[in-house]
């Protein structure tokens, strides 16, 4: 019963909350969409926190996505042991990098008096949840080795079963507890997405790569005559 709730209902619940929450927040309070950077108040620790965290987590999330999108490709890649070792080693190294970044981010929130002024309770909740997620992830990598191999056999089909609205709960509920914690915590993070600073992920300004350098806006552009 609890499995059905956690792996059959919770994913849909959190996605529904995330989508409606994001729309609600964007429509009613676009002003609050910001990276709410605190670099201006604290610079040094941020470098050791933010840079490893962001680069690490982007690559790790990309890895999770690739495993789901191309399970066959990943299996084929892992067919040669050396490649498997390299992939696992890289993933674990990135996991540790992310952990270091996160620890710095948490530490600076606690140690800088200026930062405490701009830290909301949600910031702390988010950082703690992310820490749980990262520790669980590293734990899986260490204790249940060759995750990149079994991930494509378990999590990938589970993901697609959720996407196709016929969730196969047993894919996840038969896995070790640590993996289940990792999954449930991920759902919680998805659900909290619109209510945290995570919304800045939706603001990645790719358009900057091709927009002209200068922007001129007219109150009412008058048509040009000859």
């Amino acid at each position: 019963m609890i499995d059905l709730f956690l792996f059959g209902i919770l994913p849909y619940l959190t996605i529904a909350v995330a989508v409606t929450g994001l729309i609600w927040r964007y429509v009613t309070n676009q002003f609050s969409y910001s990276s709410v950077s605190s670099q201006f108040l604290e610079n040094r620790q941020l470098f050791w926190g933010s840079v490893p965290w962001h680069y690490g987590i982007i690559l790790i999330l990309l890895g999770h996505l690739l495993g789901v999108l191309f399970p066959g490709g990943i299996s084929a890649f892992n067919g040669v042991p050396v490649r498997l070792y390299i992939l696992e080693g890289t993933a674990l190294a990135l996991g540790l990098l992310v952990l270091v970044g996160l620890v710095f981010l948490l530490l600076r929130r606690g140690t800088s008096a200026r930062l405490r002024v701009v830290t909301t309770p949600m910031d702390v909740v988010l950082l703690v949840l992310l820490l749980i997620q990262v520790i669980a992830g590293i734990g899986i990598a260490v204790f249940y080795r060759w995750g990149s191999a079994w991930y494509v056999q378990t999590a990938a089909p589970y993901f697609w079963s959720v996407v196709t609205l016929s969730p196969k709960v047993t894919y996840i509920s038969s896995l070790p507890l640590l993996v289940q914690v990792h999954a449930v915590n991920a759902f919680v993070l998805v659900g909290l997405f619109p209510f945290t600073r995570l919304v800045h992920m939706l603001s990645i300004p790719f358009a900057y790569l091709w927009r002209p350098y200068q922007i001129v806006m007219w109150y009412r552009r008058q048509p040009r005559s000859f």
């Binding site: 927040r25 309070n29 676009q30 002003f31 609050s32 969409y33 910001s34 990276s35 709410v36 950077s37 605190s38 670099q39 201006f40 108040l41 604290e42 610079n43 941020l46 470098f47 933010s50 840079v51 965290w53 962001h54 680069y55 008096a113 200026r114 405490r116 002024v117 701009v118 909301t120 949600m122 209510f195 945290t196 600073r197 919304v199 800045h200 603001s203 300004p205 790719f206 358009a207 900057y208 790569l209 927009r211 350098y213 200068q214 922007i215 001129v216 806006m217 007219w218 109150y219 009412r220 552009r221 008058q222 040009r224 005559s225």
Partner: protein, 496 residues
């Protein structure tokens, strides 16, 4: 020719008394909120000095403005991909310590202190953390401190001076300094805008005011380091950048911006300039020493019928053309060549111009008294107390000819005015000075008039915005009345 209008300004540095009234007027109006209390959209600096934020002119430190790479003009901050990949940590961002930590005083203690031997004091407390703070820096901490080893001697503009020249500049008997009031330059080629990943900053087509959309800003912070003048600021509370808005709500109702209106020394002028938007990139790429001339070429003569016709084609009304014709800024910048942009080598084409300070002339003390008359009454460009090279670093991209040209004109105008009023200088002497400076007596009279006796409406020629007419064309004014206004419907809060 793509003619556009720009509301521009001139600050006459000889008249600035460094009273900071402008800063306070601005602060009272716009930046007395949480998160903005450290911002001074208008600040007054003592030069030579390091300014606010500290060493803002040092682009090796902050990487602001533009540079010419090969044949193209690129932000010094970096390429587009470079900016996107350093969003997580902007290596050139000034932090609060580069400005100062805003503070107040623990006044409450004066009332609640227990009886004791010594009278209670109000200690300084941080406006950010609320803790006791040992104040070490402030926005005008370098006020009048020329010659101090901390401020004046670290001025980056002194780099090209010889040790002897530096030594002479800081000799106690002839210490010299002047003030530079600074606001956003509302540049033609703004670098803050170019490096904004969100595209939240824009230049208004009608009057050229550069603004930041608070809704679109995502707090990536590149405008702060990208502006070479450090005139965009990061609101640490809301996580959005803010900057001088040239008091556009005042301008649109026909009033001069608050810092202009309150200026005690009446050093500020504002008016419309017409410019050719097609030429911006080419002019911004000019060699460093030619940048002032290039910018003057970009500014068009509103009395030229061809320009007026092109302006009308671009939707510039006759009212605005008329305002451009009587603009004091046009006269100071283009007609007389007296007003110069601050640091044109940043290549943003700033539209705030400064009349360089003539400064007290070095007198001789050889006869045992302070003798101005030894050489000539007003001196000449050889007896400048501040080296030409220093002024050229500030106002002409190192071109000393432009500075001496402007200063000679200022001298000639003074000489001419003297000959008309006190008679201390003869008419023939005055005429000689004018010919040397390349001025006619008529121009000198007008310069003297606009410098020393301008009326309010001579200083501020604000074009009629007629916002109400523009509004009528799109929405019912009654409805519009309830939809707009300055500020927020909900109080701005930091994230969630």
């Amino acid at each position: 020719m793509d003619v556009r209008a720009q509301l521009s300004s001139v600050f006459h540095l000889d008249k600035c008394i460094g009273c900071h009234t402008c800063s306070l007027a601005c602060n009272n109006l716009w930046t007395s909120r949480d998160g903005t209390e450290y911002m001074w959209w208008n600040n007054v600096e003592t030069k030579p000095g390091t300014g606010y934020p500290t060493l803002w002119e040092d682009q090796a430190k902050y990487r602001g403005g533009w540079e010419v790479k090969g044949n193209s003009l690129v932000p010094r901050t970096g390429g587009r991909l470079g900016i996107l990949t350093s969003m997580f940590y902007n290596p050139h961002l000034p932090t609060m310590d580069d400005y100062y930590e805003p503070w107040t005083y623990d006044y409450e203690h004066l009332f609640t202190a227990p009886p004791g031997d010594a009278p209670p004091t109000a200690r300084s407390i941080s406006k950010i953390t609320g803790r006791y703070l040992d104040v070490e820096a402030g926005p005008n901490w370098d006020d009048d401190l020329s010659g101090s080893p901390v401020y004046a001697k670290n001025d980056v503009n002194l780099k090209e001076l010889t040790p002897a020249e530096r030594e002479a500049l800081f000799r106690v008997e002839q210490l010299v300094f002047f003030y530079i009031p600074r606001i956003c330059n509302h540049c033609l080629n703004p670098a803050c805008l170019a490096v904004c990943p969100s595209g939240a900053i824009y230049k208004r087509g009608e009057d050229g005011i550069v603004l930041i959309s608070q809704e679109k800003c995502r707090g990536w912070r590149f405008c702060v380091s990208g502006c070479p003048y450090k005139k965009t600021y990061y609101n640490w509370k809301t996580g959005k950048s803010e900057k001088c808005i040239l008091c556009y709500p005042r301008l649109e109702t026909g009033q001069a911006p608050a810092c202009f209106h309150t200026c005690v020394g009446r050093i500020r002028y504002t008016g419309v300039l017409l410019y050719d938007a097609d030429g911006i990139e080419a002019m911004a790429k000019a060699p460093e020493a030619d940048l002032v001339e290039a910018q003057r070429r970009l500014i068009l003569d509103p009395a030229d019928p061809e320009v007026a016709a092109a302006a009308r084609r671009n939707g510039i009304s006759d009212d605005w053309l008329g305002a451009a014709k009587s603009s004091p800024v046009y006269r100071f910048v283009k007609e007389w060549g007296l007003a110069l942009p601050l640091h044109p080598e940043f290549r943003t084409l700033p539209m705030l111009f400064y009349v360089p300070p003539l400064l007290p002339v070095a007198a001789s003390t050889r006869t045992g008294r302070y003798d101005l008359a030894e050489k000539s009454y007003l001196g000449n460009s050889e007896s400048l107390r501040v080296p030409l090279k220093y002024l050229a670093r500030l106002f002409s991209g190192g071109n000393t000819g432009i500075i001496s040209g402007a200063l000679n004109k200022l001298w000639a105008v003074r000489g001419y005015a003297r000959s008309q009023t006190s008679g201390h200088i003869t008419d023939s002497q005055a005429k000689e000075m004018l010919t040397e400076a390349g001025l006619t007596p008529d121009a000198a009279r007008q310069i003297a008039r606009l410098t020393s006796l301008p009326r309010f409406n001579d200083r501020f020629v604000i074009p009629p915005y007629r916002r109400e007419e523009q509004i009528q064309q799109t929405v019912d004014p009654q409805q519009h009345k309830y939809q707009v206004g300055f500020g927020f419907i909900n109080p701005p809060r930091r994230g969630l």
